[in-house]
């Protein structure tokens, strides 16, 4: 084992040694620097390994041959080994990354760099306060020097501001240190801890100064303008070091020094961390400069870890994992992002679309963003989950809420950025110039993030390696992305089929899960078949589609809240990518993500309440939540409702579904929305009627109004896919209303709607999507008369809308019938009438859809259009088969569901053998109705045939209209503003009030951010004033 002291010796020796080299030997000196950094990494790494294997115990390293407190000692324990390894790894990779630039500037730059890394090592290891001060100063000066690697006035200014701020800070630190010595008689941290200097007022002030300064070194919001300027103006390659390595060291020091003040200081650290996390992320929402944005994010993340450090007494045994997971996550992701920034060389985040020129970098970028926000499978996901669970279960709900708020604020700008990267118009021809030394470090941190997520698994209750199986397949699909689409499509279908086969036993015994299994998996396979229609490679499609399905499968099969949440977030991520693939999807995918993230956080809080009261991660914990019962259930319900797009939370859906690719729309509409329904159903079953009385009542009304507004908005849509999208909102409103009734009939109706909506919405979206591609327009009024060109599509759509409108004899009516019974039996008459009114309106848009596309006059530019390809029609007709079966034999499906439900609710509906369904109120015989209607139909048709001779087919324009034959299809195709009368009468109901509401909220947030960020006046002196004010306020809060 090489002693840790050699980190110092090697680094300093090398730094001094480099002075011997002239300019001609730059290459040698640069390689020496890398070798030095590598050796430092090796030293800390071997210690880490040794600690990991348990072969060593914490080592004290004495200097000068004397014991502390008489001399300085360093410590190498497990924690120190981890921290120094992190610092050195990033130092080494950073050295590789900045290789060329360092070489350009010369030997002195390399010396400064290696000394910086060394100083961070010592900061971590030292146990002596003054030694800490000295090496903090070394770090500051080295940082100030590295800032000006970027030679411009801005970086000089930033450097001066930085020096001023750290100058003030370190002066105060010195006062604190000397008085700590005065009171404790020792400079050794352990000595000061045991001396309990905080008991006297003055001693407390000394400790306060030390802690305050160490906090300020971490650039807490809002006294951090100087830090932000560093992030913004320094070379991104160096920004990575500041964000990852310096912060790691700083956080560890804070952790190390905090016990000096005793227990009382922890809450203040929590407070500071939270303010930093929330404030910094909030202000970040207004930021347009990439590096400065990364700065805000870095400071925010550091604030989060600071919070966790402050929570140490509360978190107990989970502290290490949570803190480490969050820190490591920030460390890897932020380093990666800064390094990417160095390759992109674009200041404005809106210019980052050049990233698309390199797929690998793009994927890495995505990984980093998702890691930062805390999506699975990254360590922050595990860390945040555990953190929230622990916080809520220890009654620290507000902290949890603030953490989630901060995370959300971070999501606001991160996903904005991601959207810009993924979708912005490419305006340049320039290609990315990527050298290997810049590329490899980014790849390493990206892969490490994934690995770290994997290895986080055993530390979290409820997590299984099992969840990673589909992820492995997704990675595989990502690797073979260069293959043509049909190969990947086949592989995806095969993979999904096999995975369905594997997980089927997990859902087999549970009918509810089985139904959703069919919808998720079989539906998924069917919608994938549509993909055969696509030509080319379809880069990036399959991994994300499979990610969504993997998430859905995980939701379905998990028996723990953790697994559920894991799947939920995975699904969200996958669907986000699916949605954003659409041409004009950027803003919609963005709002989808924001609503999803917010919803997920509500769910997380709800889970945490459940965990608090049950003490287990098992899903059964949702039953009888004892603490904050109503709140918990409400949070969960609202969380799930963000996915079902209930009124108020629906504004993301129309755009997201409407603008998606033709085969993505059915995936996200027919299948994805059901995940929210599954969540709600699960929730309601666990919650029970008694507990959720009021909540359910409110949700019933929400469901009713969702149905009305969704359908009404659909009626007035001119965009075919948006019409269907709004229709989904309405249909999901029915479902919410139905299951909120919490009766067997209501739930049966709910299930019927779930199944029907899956079937017909998939058909409609598949076919309409195909037509939109064929015709090249979304606008209904630009279509028309396609019946003659696409008869099969027409039949599919016709069956779809008959089901949608609930017209007998197709299965849509089953839902209506159950609904009526349920409403009257439940006594929710008025809500019920609203829902039925919505149903009538559904009929109107159903007609509008089929009329505008297939009927009326064929447009000139569509004369040569062809029927849709079999790849589209086959899945549609398979689904039609489902509708027909369900219509003819509703009892075969509904009876078992009814039986299952009677375990939860009193049975109110009976089935006789020949398909007659009866309730106390009513009866309905699906088979008989179908037979009667079909028979009548045939007879009437025969009669008409009988009385009609040979018909003559008329030409297209051969109609009587204004006493003339029209000759332009456009003038005679009535589609635009079709229901003008209805619009005049009740169109006010869908005035975009809710959109405006959310717009106002987002404006408020951005205004607030804009107001706060005026603090950052750019004046270094003002920043110094901030620091002093911060200390004074901190003093009055903590000791005043």
């Amino acid at each position: 084992m090489v002693g840790p002291i050699y980190i110092i010796a090697i680094a300093l020796g090398l730094a001094f040694f480099l002075g011997f080299f002239g300019k001609s030997l730059k290459d040698v000196s640069a390689f020496l620097m890398l070798a030095g950094l590598a050796f430092m990494t090796f030293i800390s790494g071997q210690w880490l390994l040794a600690f990991f294997n348990g072969s060593v115990t914490t080592q004290e390293i004495f200097t000068a041959g004397f014991r502390p407190p008489y001399s300085i000692n360093l410590r190498m324990g497990y924690e120190e080994a981890v921290m120094t390894t992190m610092i050195n790894v990033i130092g080494f990779l950073g050295g590789v990354y900045m290789f060329k630039r360092l070489k350009e500037v010369g030997n002195s730059a390399m010396s400064v760099f290696i000394v910086l890394i060394m100083s961070l090592n010592v900061i971590v290891m030292t146990r002596d306060l003054f030694n800490l001060f000295v090496f903090v100063e070394i770090g500051s000066i080295a940082t100030a020097g590295m800032i000006i690697l970027e030679k411009n006035s801005k970086s000089l200014q930033a450097g001066l501001k930085y020096l001023m701020a750290t100058g003030v800070i370190s002066g105060l630190l010195l006062i604190g240190i000397i008085f700590a010595y005065y009171f404790a008689g020792s400079l050794n941290i352990d000595g000061i801890i045991t001396a309990h200097v905080g008991v006297t007022k003055a001693g407390a002030v000394a400790v306060f100064l030390i802690i305050a300064v160490l906090v300020l070194e971490l650039k807490p919001f809002p006294a951090n303008g100087w830090g932000l300027d560093v992030y913004q103006s320094a070379k991104p390659g160096f920004g990575a070091i500041v964000s990852a390595a310096t912060a790691t060291a700083g956080l560890y020091v804070l952790y190390k020094v905090l016990p000096m003040g005793g227990e009382t200081w922890y809450p203040y650290i929590v407070l500071i961390g939270l303010i930093t996390f929330v404030g910094s992320n909030l202000v970040g929402t207004r930021q347009k400069d990439a590096n400065r944005l990364l700065g805000y994010s870095s400071i925010g993340q550091i604030g989060l870890v600071m919070t966790v450090i402050g929570l140490q007494p509360i978190l107990g045994s989970k502290f290490s994992f949570i803190a480490f997971a969050l820190l490591l996550n920030h460390y890897l992701a932020k380093a990666g992002l800064f390094w990417l920034s160095g390759i992109i060389k674009k200041e404005k985040i809106s210019d980052w679309y050049v990233l698309r020129k390199n797929k690998a970098l793009l994927i890495l970028f995505v990984i980093f963003i998702f890691a930062l926000i805390g999506f699975p499978p990254f360590p922050s996901f595990f860390g945040k989950y555990e953190l929230i669970m622990s916080l809520v279960s220890t009654e620290n709900i507000w902290i949890a809420v603030l953490i989630l708020l901060g995370s959300f604020a971070e999501g606001i700008y991160m996903f904005k950025w991601l959207g810009d990267v993924l979708k912005d118009e490419d305006q340049t021809e320039e290609s990315l110039n990527i050298s290997w030394n810049k590329f490899i470090p980014i790849v390493i941190v990206g892969v490490s993030l994934l690995a770290a997520g994997f290895y986080s698994t055993p530390y979290v209750e409820g997590a299984h390696y099992f969840y990673f199986i589909p992820l492995g397949f997704i990675v595989f699909m990502g690797l073979i992305d260069f293959l043509p689409a049909y190969v990947k499509n086949t592989l995806s279908i095969a993979g999904m089929t096999y995975y369905s086969y594997i997980i089927y036993p997990l859902v087999e015994g549970d009918l509810m899960r089985t139904i959703f299994f069919v919808i998720f998996m079989i539906g998924g396979i069917l919608t994938l078949i549509v993909g055969y229609n696509k030509k080319g490679k379809r880069e990036g499609f399959y991994p994300v589609a499979l990610m969504m399905y993997a998430g859905l499968a995980t939701i379905l099969t998990s028996d723990s809240m953790f697994g559920f949440f894991f799947g939920w977030e995975l699904m969200t991520a996958g669907s986000y990518f699916l949605i954003i693939r659409g041409k004009r999807s950027k803003p919609h995918a963005y709002s989808y993500m924001l609503f999803s993230v917010a919803g997920a956080y509500l769910i997380l809080l709800g889970f945490a309440f459940a965990y608090t009261s049950a003490g287990t991660q098992d899903l059964i914990a949702l039953k009888d939540i004892a603490v904050y019962t109503t709140l918990a259930y409400t949070l969960l319900a609202v969380g799930f409702m963000t996915k079902t797009a209930s009124l108020g939370l629906h504004i993301w859906l129309p755009g997201a579904h409407g603008e998606a690719e033709s085969d993505v729309s059915p995936m996200v509409s027919a299948i994805l929305l059901k995940a929210g329904v599954f969540g709600l159903m699960l929730l309601f079953l666990y919650m029970g009627q008694q507990t959720g009385e009021t909540l359910l009542f409110v949700l019933g009304w929400v469901g009713a109004f969702t149905a009305l507004v969704g359908n009404l908005a659909a009626v007035f849509q001119e965009d075919a896919k948006r019409l269907l999208a709004y229709s989904s909102i309405g249909q999901l409103g029915y479902i919410l209303f139905a299951i909120a009734m919490m009766t067997q009939l209501g739930w049966l109706a709910g299930f019927t709607y779930v199944i029907n909506h899956f079937l017909f919405k998939a058909i409609l979206f598949i076919v309409v999507g195909g037509i939109v591609v064929r015709t090249g327009t979304h606008n209904l009024y630009q279509m028309g008369g396609l019946l003659k060109k696409m008869p099969f599509s027409f039949v599919a759509v016709l069956i779809g809308i008959i089901t949608l409108a609930g017209i007998p004899p197709l299965s849509g009516f089953a839902g209506k019938w159950l609904f009526y019974n349920a409403v009257v039996l439940k006594g929710w008459y008025i809500q019920g009438v609203i829902v039925f009114f919505a149903g009538s309106i559904a009929f109107m848009y159903a007609f509008k859809l089929i009329h505008s596309i297939f009927l009326g006059q064929l447009k000139d530019n569509h004369r040569n259009i062809k029927e849709l390809s079999p790849a589209i029609l086959i899945p549609a007709y398979i689904l039609i088969g489902g509708i027909i079966y369900f219509s003819a034999y509703p009892q075969n499906v509904l009876e078992p569901i009814g039986n299952m439900l009677s375990a939860y609710f009193p049975a109110t509906v009976d089935w006789s053998g020949d398909g007659l369904a009866t309730t106390v109120l009513s009866y309905w015989n699906g088979n008989a109705v179908l037979i009667i209607i079909v028979t009548t139909f045939i007879l009437v048709l025969a009669y008409l045939k009988l009385i009609t001779g040979k018909t003559t087919k008329l030409e297209q324009f051969n109609i009587a209209y204004s006493a003339e034959r029209p000759f332009r299809p456009e003038t005679t195709h009535v589609s635009y503003n079709m229901f003008a009368g209805l619009n005049k009468a009740i169109g006010f109901l869908i005035a975009p009030g809710i959109t405006r509401f959310w717009k106002n909220i987002s404006d408020m947030v951005l205004d607030l951010a804009g107001f706060i960020r005026r603090l950052y006046s750019g004046n270094g002196q003002v920043y110094a004033v901030h620091i002093i004010i911060y200390i004074v306020i901190f003093y009055f809060i903590s000791l005043g």
Partner: protein, 236 residues
């Protein structure tokens, strides 16, 4: 309320924050444990009479190493600036007239000043003063040279050489302690360096050696910093 008043108030608020420290200060009659330990055992353990020296070089040698590193960093960073404006540097400095007295006295004084500096750091373990002070004295000699001789150019190579060598020697001696003395970095009990008789020049183990190189290094670094500043005068 004016801006200055506000800043004055903020400063006073900080004064209020640290006032308890001031208030608690009531002088000291006795030494802290650590201080007492140095007084009691310092000479015996390090062999140096001047306990400040033994603390600086030995007990808290790591701080001192950091300290020279800071100077080194400052010099390095300032030399970045130099490298920025290389292109527009005028080759020769504008020449000011210098009085004869200054020139002559410099020629006499500079060697003396250097000698004095060396004396200070060589005797660091015996009398007040040491590497830093000696280094500073050497650097002031360099200033004098700049002042007296406008054409004087600092040989960066020489300074760099002195600085690097002394730095490396410092680190090597430290590492030698770690290698030989049971892993204790910067120990002064390294074989080959006798403790000698307390009070004589050749005593106190590695301290005089370290202090000598420290002095050279500090002197070189300070000269370097000064040199950069002086040379910057000739930039355009």
């Amino acid at each position: 309320m004016g801006k200055k008043t506000m800043i004055a108030l903020i400063t006073l608020a900080l004064a209020f924050v640290i006032y308890p420290l001031y208030q608690s200060y009531n002088g000291s009659e006795t030494l802290k444990d650590v201080g007492q330990y140095y007084i009691d055992n310092g000479v015996e353990e390090t062999g140096a009479q001047n306990l400040v020296t033994s603390v600086v070089v030995t007990y808290r040698g790591l701080d001192t190493l950091g300290e020279v590193t800071i100077l080194f960093l400052a010099a390095s960073v300032i030399s970045f600036f130099l490298s920025f404006s290389k292109n527009d540097r005028i080759k020769s400095r504008s020449i000011r007239s210098v009085t004869e007295i200054l020139t002559t006295s410099t020629q006499v004084l500079v060697p003396m000043i250097f000698m004095f500096g060396v004396y200070i750091f060589v005797n660091g373990h015996l009398t007040p003063g040491g590497g830093f002070q000696g280094g500073a004295v050497i650097a002031s000699g360099i200033i004098l040279m700049f002042l007296s001789n406008p054409r004087f150019k600092l040989s960066h190579k020489v300074i760099q050489f002195v600085e690097s060598t002394s730095g490396i020697v410092f680190v090597l001696i430290g590492a030698a302690g770690a290698l030989m003395m049971d892993g204790d970095f910067l120990s002064n009990k390294i074989p080959g360096f006798g403790f000698g008789e307390v009070g004589s020049i050749i005593s106190a183990g590695a301290i005089p050696v370290i202090y000598t190189f420290l002095g050279l290094k500090v002197g070189a670094e300070l000269s370097n910093v000064l040199g950069v500043f002086v040379e910057s005068q000739s930039e355009k």
